[in-house]
C-alpha cells in the first residue's frame, strides 16, 4: 500500500477517535481552554464582562459552533460525540479540498509540472 494511502487511513482513524478530545475533558471536569471562556465564565472569574467583549463576541454565528449541531438542548455526551465526528469529517474535508484548490492554483501560476 502506498504511504499516502496509509496516511489518509490514519486520518480516518483520527476522525473516529476524535470524541476522546471531548469525552476525556468532560469526564475529568475540565473547563474551557485558557483564554477561550464564554461571557458567563468571564463574569464568574473577574466579576464583570469586559464591554468590548460583550459587544463583538457573538457577531459571527458559526454553522456548527464548538463542533456541535445547533439547537440541541442539554445534549448528552453521546449526541455531542456524534456531532463531533460529523464536524471532524466535514471540517477535514473542507480543509483538504481548500488546500488542494490553493495548491493547484499555486502550482499552475508560475511553472508547469513537467514530468
Amino acid at each position: 500500500m502506498k504511504t499516502a494511502t496509509k496516511l489518509w487511513i490514519g486520518l480516518i482513524a483520527l476522525v473516529i477517535l476524535s470524541p476522546l478530545g471531548l469525552i476525556l475533558p468532560a469526564k475529568l471536569g475540565t473547563g474551557s481552554a485558557w483564554g477561550e471562556w464564554s461571557a458567563d465564565e468571564i463574569h464568574k472569574m473577574v466579576g464583570y464582562v469586559p464591554s468590548g467583549m460583550s459587544r463583538v463576541s457573538e457577531f459571527w454565528k458559526a454553522p456548527l459552533p464548538d463542533y456541535a449541531f445547533r439547537g440541541q438542548e442539554n445534549p448528552s455526551l453521546r449526541a455531542l460525540s456524534l456531532s463531533y465526528v460529523v464536524s471532524g469529517i466535514l471540517g477535514a474535508a473542507a480543509v483538504a479540498v481548500l488546500t488542494i484548490l490553493i495548491g493547484r492554483t499555486l502550482v499552475r501560476r508560475e511553472h508547469s509540472d513537467a514530468p
Binding site: T3, A4, K6, L7, L11, L14, V15, S18, L20, G21, L24, P25, L28, G29, T30, G31, S32, A33, W34, G35, E36, I42, M45, Y48, P50, S51, G52, M53, R55, V56, S57, E58, F59, W60, K61, A62, P63, L64, P65, D66, Y67, Y84, S87, G88, L90, G91, A93, A94, V95, A96, V97, L98, T99, I100, G103, R104, L106, V107, R109, D113
Partner: protein, 231 residues
C-alpha cells in the same frame, strides 16, 4: 490557543493581520516556485491532519484543556512556508465553520500557530537534525524537540497578545474592554500549561509520526532546502 472574537482590541487584531499577511504573500510566492503538483495531496493531508489533531483536547484534571497543532510536523515534511499555508487553512475553517477562534482573531491565531510555530519549530528541527541522514535518530528527536519549542513559542505569543489587552484598553472603572488578565497572569499560566503538558503532547505526536515515516517512506523527509523533494 484559539483566540475568540472580543478578546483582542482592534489595534491588536489589526496589527496581527498586518504581520501575518506578508507571510501569506511570501508563502504563496515561494510555494508557486517550489511546490510540485505531486506534493499537493501531501499538503492537503498535512492541513487535514492539523485540523483533526486540534480536536484532541487534552485535559488538565480540574483545570483547562489544550491540544497539539501539528504545524511543526508539516514544516518538517514540506517546509515552514507550506506549513504556514496548510495550518492557516485549518485555522480559517475552524473559525468560519466551528467558531473555534474568532473571525477578527484569524490574523492573530495564524500568526501564532501558522507562522511563529512552524518557523520556530522548523529552525529547532534543522539545528538538531543538521546534515544527518533522513533515517537518523537525530531527525525524529529534532522534530519532537521542534514541536515542543514551536508550540511553546506559539503559546507565549498568544499569552502576550492576551496580556497586553488590559494595558491597551480599559474604562474609567479600570475594567478591561477585552481580555481581562494582565501579562503577569497570562504569561505564567499559558507558559506553565504548555511547558508542563501540551508541549510534550506536541513533541510525542511530531516525533512519532516522523519516526514512523522514517520506516515507512523516508523519502518524505527529504524536503530540506536545496534538495528537490521526490514524493
Amino acid at each position: 490557543m484559539h483566540i475568540p472574537d472580543g478578546y483582542l482590541g482592534p489595534q491588536t487584531y489589526g496589527a496581527a493581520y498586518a504581520v501575518a499577511a506578508p507571510f501569506w504573500a511570501v508563502a504563496s510566492k515561494r510555494m508557486s516556485r517550489t511546490l510540485r503538483s505531486r506534493q499537493v495531496p501531501m499538503l492537503a493531508l498535512g492541513a487535514a491532519f492539523s485540523f483533526l489533531i486540534m480536536m484532541f483536547n487534552v485535559p488538565i484534571p480540574g483545570g483547562t484543556t489544550g491540544h497539539a497543532v501539528g504545524a511543526v510536523l508539516v514544516a518538517v515534511l514540506l517546509g515552514p512556508w507550506a506549513a504556514c499555508i496548510a495550518v492557516s487553512v485549518a485555522l480559517i475553517v475552524q473559525a468560519v465553520l466551528f467558531g473555534d477562534g474568532g473571525i477578527t482573531a484569524i490574523g492573530a491565531n495564524c500568526l501564532n500557530m501558522a507562522v511563529i510555530m512552524p518557523f520556530v519549530g522548523y529552525g529547532v528541527y534543522r539545528l538538531i537534525s543538521g546534515r544527518s541522514d533522513v533515517t537518523s535518530r537525530r531527525r525524529w528527536i529534532g522534530a519532537a524537540v521542534g514541536g515542543y519549542i514551536g508550540l511553546n513559542a506559539a503559546a507565549l505569543a498568544t499569552a502576550i497578545e492576551f496580556g497586553i489587552q488590559p494595558i491597551l484598553a480599559h474604562d474609567a472603572a479600570g475594567h478591561a474592554l477585552y481580555a481581562p488578565y494582565p501579562l503577569s497572569v497570562a504569561v505564567p499560566v499559558m507558559a506553565a500549561e504548555h511547558l508542563l503538558l501540551f508541549g510534550f503532547v506536541e513533541a510525542i505526536v511530531t516525533g512519532m509520526v516522523v519516526a514512523y515515516l522514517q520506516r515507512a517512506d523516508a523519502s518524505l523527509l527529504n524536503g530540506t532546502p536545496g534538495k528537490k523533494v521526490n514524493v
